[in-house]
Amino acid sequence: MYARHVPDGRLRRLLDEPFAVPDRDVAHAGRCTRCRARLEAIAGDASSARRLVAAPAAVQDLDVAWTDLAARAAGPRRVAALRGAPRRRWRLAGTSLGTGASVAAVSVAVAGIAAAATLTTVFAPTAVVPVPVSKADLQPLAALLRLAKGSANAFAQPSGSSALPFGTVSWSSSGHGEKVASLAAAEAATGVTVSLPATLPAGVGAPSSYFVAPKLTATVDFDSSAGAALSGSTLVVTIGPGVAVSYSGSGGVSGVVPLAVAAVERPVATSSGATTSELESFLLSQPGVPSDLAGELRLLANPSTTLPVPVPPGASSSTVTVDGSQAVVLTDQSRVASGAVWVGGGDVHVVAGLLDAKDLLGVARQVG
């Protein structure tokens, strides 16, 4: 039977999606010298175009991009990135300052814009990873930020500041951590939603207490002791707010919390002038940071999006999937207590209790 020559468009598709092309066309293209010659020419053009146009896989972290989008949408609108010269993000139209503004107002605006212009998100976790921590690691780490012993009490204040070996840290919180009457009250106070499990393991009673944690913002101003890369830069870390719910035991035993469920807005760090790798390099090289731990942290594939979950001595860890996210599950030596941590929907979720890992995961998967 005579077969018509295969149209150009179908020959083109044959290169990309051969199973979508009718068998008779495939057979014809295979035996018709004229169609084969056209196919070769089409393939040559397609190959050149692919080589030139095909972009490598996008690498920008999605959660960082989402944070950027929020900042852009909330900030002064730019009139098109797309018209001007190549630029970094945050460029603002100079004309928006207004010709009639006073010099002072312009100066203040420029200073504010300059500060905003250099803010970069350096940490916004989207995943968790277990990092073993030994007893020997814990003490020097706490000492690093002078949070050990007496100094730790300073953070109990809603706001304040403290000297660091490499600058100063100041912090403020949106309120006090407190117990509230209901989950609805906790959610209303924080904007964080918590899904409570519908089915509970044996031994776990009803929710008994609801807690809210305020949003905490800490600002580290690095001075010249921090070295040239960080000197003069600022690191702003926010965490929270969060909600925690604790459960009572079903047997009427008081004083024991068999299960707690919590969700906290994930920590986000932004920096003016320093990159994630510069900050990581500096912090991990501080005296007192154990070299083994520093090595573990340096192995993180993407430190700006990975939340390390410390695995204390004696505990074991495993990773499972909860609600499409990787969760770290920690279990104590006796397998009586366990906990799971994961990041999802912009929150860090924690479920912990006097449960074995199987029961705990059953709860986590309802919460997630």
Binding site: P7, G9, A58, G75, A81, L82, R83
Partner: protein, 206 residues
């Protein structure tokens, strides 16, 4: 004041201009709890595609991010419930292509005075970098000269979209995509060849 994007679905026109109305409240979405969770999911699904499409045209990671973010901000205003929309995904893809093409048209005469940020696969040697930059410069210029629908089909297809997705994005039948792509690739070759000929002709004079 916000940035407005108006697209004609057949890919023949795209305009960017100021519009009235409040800025999209992505930040507020977080504060509202999960009121805009649908858009966040849409963002996570579409942003990588949009970024890849934009980068395919502008060849500059930062500018591609700008394009992608502008498109998603505009999409949020246009599609309050993008997951429930049958054409939100198609819209952001074509919008990315059009905005990126608009940007290179505005940049054609400002080539490479600044170092551009690339996706991390640039060759290491200075000669190779120079060759790649020259190719990218020529590509941007060629894409800018092609008819809009030809440039769009090239960019969409070579950013990894299937024929079905390209058809959906451009509002054409799937059977037309192969023909459009073939013509666009041939036109691209001709544009690049013409550019080379022009350069060779000019070279002896200078």
């Amino acid at each position: 004041m916000g940035v407005g994007i108006e697209l004609v679905h057949d890919g023949t026109a795209a305009e960017i201009g100021p519009t009235t109305g409040g800025a999209p409240s992505v930040g507020a979405a977080r504060a509202d709890g999960r009121a805009h969770g649908g858009f966040e999911r849409f963002f996570h699904e579409q942003y990588p595609v949009v970024l890849r499409i934009a980068y395919g045209v502008v060849r500059d990671a930062h500018l591609a991010e700008d394009v992608a973010q502008d498109v998603l901000i505009a999409a949020q205003r246009r599609f309050p419930d993008p997951l429930g929309s049958s054409h939100a995904a198609a819209w952001v893809r074509v919008a990315a292509s059009h905005l990126a093409l608009n940007s290179v048209r505005g940049r054609r005469r400002r080539e490479d005075r600044h170092g551009r940020a690339r996706m991390p696969c640039a060759p290491a040697g200075p000669e190779e970098i120079a060759v790649v930059r020259e190719e990218e410069s020529q590509l941007r210029a060629a894409l800018a000269r092609l008819p809009r629908h030809s440039a769009t089909v090239l960019v969409l297809r070579h950013s990894g979209l299937s024929y079905a997705e390209v058809a959906e994005s451009m509002g054409v039948k799937i059977g037309q995509v192969g023909t459009m792509l073939r013509r666009a690739e041939a036109a691209l070759r001709k544009e690049l060849t013409r550019k080379e000929v022009d350069r060779d002709v000019r070279a002896p004079r200078s």
